[in-house]
Point group: C2
Chain length 305, copies 2
Amino acid sequence: MGTSKDSSQELYDGLVAHKLIIPVGVQGAFGRGAVFEDVLARFDALVSRVIAPDGAERMLFPPILDRQVFEKSGFLDSFPQLAGSVFSFEGDERAHAQLRSRIREGQRWDDLQKMTKVVLSPAACYPVYPSFAGDVLPKEGRLVEMFNWVFRHEPSPDPTRMQAFRVHEVVRVGTPETVIGWRDMWLQRGVEMLRSLGLPARPEVASDPFFGRGGRMLADNQRAQELKFEVVIPVVSEEKPTAVCSFNYHQDHFGESFGIHTSEGNVAHSACLGFGMERVVMALFKTHGFEPEKWPQETRRRLWP
Amino acid sequence: MGTSKDSSQELYDGLVAHKLIIPVGVQGAFGRGAVFEDVLARFDALVSRVIAPDGAERMLFPPILDRQVFEKSGFLDSFPQLAGSVFSFEGDERAHAQLRSRIREGQRWDDLQKMTKVVLSPAACYPVYPSFAGDVLPKEGRLVEMFNWVFRHEPSPDPTRMQAFRVHEVVRVGTPETVIGWRDMWLQRGVEMLRSLGLPARPEVASDPFFGRGGRMLADNQRAQELKFEVVIPVVSEEKPTAVCSFNYHQDHFGESFGIHTSEGNVAHSACLGFGMERVVMALFKTHGFEPEKWPQETRRRLWP
């Protein structure tokens, strides 16, 4: 992704050496150590405190998502390469004997697996829209806060690019005015929150990694319409800073797909804002060093209030 | 599973009516509401407080697991039907066009997915053993505490039988004596902890749902050797109470598979104990009612100390 290989390796090695992450055999699936998790929980609590006055409903969804919802979401139109679907064994004892001998002999066993009714959640906000399906929203719209695991099939040696990670996400559904006003509020709040931790955060108009040749056009269009913003921080590279907070305005995409209407009877608009929890934690370690007890006093005061 | 259909439906309906869980289109993948999550976090903190004096290392692993570790674990020998493997799209633009048109037309798209290097974690403790691979343990062995999502492919209308759920797990690795002593300590502590919340918990020698005709024999053997204990509570049925805490003694299975040795040079033994977090929460709602503010004072004092 254009990030300097040396710097991401250096960060990875530092995180491992300080037992902040625990290496595993595949890329982007490492474990998290006690101190890493403590910092993550502290930042999570900070996000909750900042959001509290907004009065969001809290929900949590498992790492798996209804495949029908996923098919409806349009994710596979744009990012087929990043999705993960769940397959299981549904055979009899004869097939099981075959499965066992294949594994014993180090042979492929993919053809003994069948697609199930679930996929891995590719975005924290996807499960929430069908829970509003057919709803007429209250006048002020809906605001939901979530804390979900997300999967992206993009194995990488860069520790900030994980196959599984957590997102503290907020979703706003309502009229276009409500959603746009909420975006403008967050554009400021998100950057301020991260800067209050001493992180060199800055906002950027952004685009998604759309698949294929047509993807370039979709990305340009997304930028031109300012549908996506990110808050970025240099973590593994100065030139290609890492997105630690991402804002997406979906216009009426999910309102249309799941039949959600405003109190005036129009198709609802939606937007979501998510903090990539592990990335924020890594940005803190990169910026302030691997030992939280030596972090700047102001940063510590915000996280351990 | 022999549980009365009416009672599991009643529990499901009650949980939904009180916004404790959020229905989704597939079984066993529902969302969790704010109050459900608050109770879960409180019980999680209680487990951590009780465990604290033991001085366990804390780790957290993502919901995905290295497929090679999974193949080595032996899970597919015993429970092929419960496993979930992750498949992804790795095609070109032509294949993508096909994928899109298949989904638009409601056709199958499983053959456009390829097996990846990860599977869903079928047990909370699996990622920890390879992290000790090749280790010679310290004299006192190792003790690790985790909080991981687990996947089981067993869609069911019974809310206590989920496809994805969280486990607060403790793993003990060391000599047989160390591990057996630890088991005996937990046999008492686990039951006491749950009873202190006013839950009608009792210990039981148990066996796993081994696949196929040979499974019966494996299960009988497991019982005869007392390798598995559960703490059960009537949640959806009096006759078939629900396991909310499960203890497995693996003998030298993982020590052998991952080359873990004791300080005396013998293959290490291991055991794990896990609390099924959602099941404990449901047992609390079933036993004390759907409104935590009306729970017995002693239960509340333990959870909101």
